[in-house]
Symmetry: C2
Subunit: 269 residues, 2 copies
Amino acid sequence: MIIKVGGAAGIDYDFLCEDIATLWQENKSLVLVHGGSSFTDELSRKLDHPPRFVTSVSGIQSRFTDRETLEIFEMAYCGKMNKGIVERLQRLEVNAVGLSGLDGRIWEGPRKTTLKIVENGKRKVLRGDHTGRVERVNINLIEMLLENGYLPVLTPPAASFDGEAINVDGDRAAAVLGAALKADTVLFLSNVPGLLKDVEDEKSLIKKLCLKDLESAKNDIARGRMKKKVMGAGEAIEAGVGRCIFGDARIPQPVRSALEGRGTVIERG
Amino acid sequence: MIIKVGGAAGIDYDFLCEDIATLWQENKSLVLVHGGSSFTDELSRKLDHPPRFVTSVSGIQSRFTDRETLEIFEMAYCGKMNKGIVERLQRLEVNAVGLSGLDGRIWEGPRKTTLKIVENGKRKVLRGDHTGRVERVNINLIEMLLENGYLPVLTPPAASFDGEAINVDGDRAAAVLGAALKADTVLFLSNVPGLLKDVEDEKSLIKKLCLKDLESAKNDIARGRMKKKVMGAGEAIEAGVGRCIFGDARIPQPVRSALEGRGTVIERG
């Protein structure tokens, strides 16, 4: 099972790590993937290099990642967030190992140096971007860790095919990892209960979706970051993952709750 | 061979990584340990939590590490420094894997929560310190990486016996690691040519030292951080490491130069 937890405000990492520790002691094979966007924003502001979000010509929002932003991103994701999670798990006697996708080139893909964006209604080209997309997973290191009793805690950046650090979308990277490891379940935990029909109403949760509904769910229902989760879930199931679940990371036992049916379950058929 | 590189100003990580890449392609078995003190100081100041250095009652200087400092330390060491070095090596086609001593509890030891210091001539007790000392090395993970063609890039913090992150001295941690791995050589690279008789005169380099000279070298010659390197070297050789070398990390081919005799060589006899 792959558990992807976001980096948005409201997520409770103590609840998450306690739940993971119980599952781990029951000999579940787990990989944890995490984000860190909210803390990255905070750190960027404190370091006088505020985040710049741009909208691509195809309508997808992302963080413009110049070299300075990339290093702030690494401090937040690989430093504070990753080691904070590893420490929580180690305190609970789970032998966690924190890695980025750059380490051992676990996540590899092409780098995009220019971004075509729309700003104030005008098309623009931004250069010096350090982003990319995961196309290949080198599972050797992850499998070696799992076989030897270590819990891998994985975070962006990934490696470009030339070995550069690239900012990649964590949800889609988790989906590709799930496919490469032939995971039964990829669980996406964030600060909402799942996919909502009405983003203002937490009671409008969609309980089940199948693969053929995903395209319209992405276009008509999902908002903001949820779009990438829906895309990631579709890609994962296409590639052979059993099911994906969108669950709530703000509650006690977030993993168990999602597995027991709170949240949105996405299956092939 | 263990290569420990400091985090002081003037160190050239590009030179270092190029040199390591050549040695790696010659099938040398290497572990790289690094610091990050200078960037940690800079980041602490930018984040309005300036570093506080204290002098213990036994005369050793160290960084007072409250929780906030620990997290800044992790951002600097495990985020920017570690991933920057891994990226340089990956760009040179060395399959590097960056880890802290917390990951897989590679470095373990007791935490010290209170510090007895001398400030303005007065004795004081500081509480809430997150520091410690490496007493145990779990080499399983490091050996697994080396056997599978990965170059481990290791940095503090370490893990307390309770799994907390603790700030430890990187030089002494590298020495303990060298002893655990029964390394032939532990190389300490920093921003000076080696141990100097006169710290103002780079030509006063001491070329050779043996174990019995170390105690007086530590007390009478070494200044500041060099004291800990001398202590680390002594501990490493006592524990079975073949030799330690103090070399210059500001020059091209810093590793090769040190191995060829530039620097201070410390041996048992």
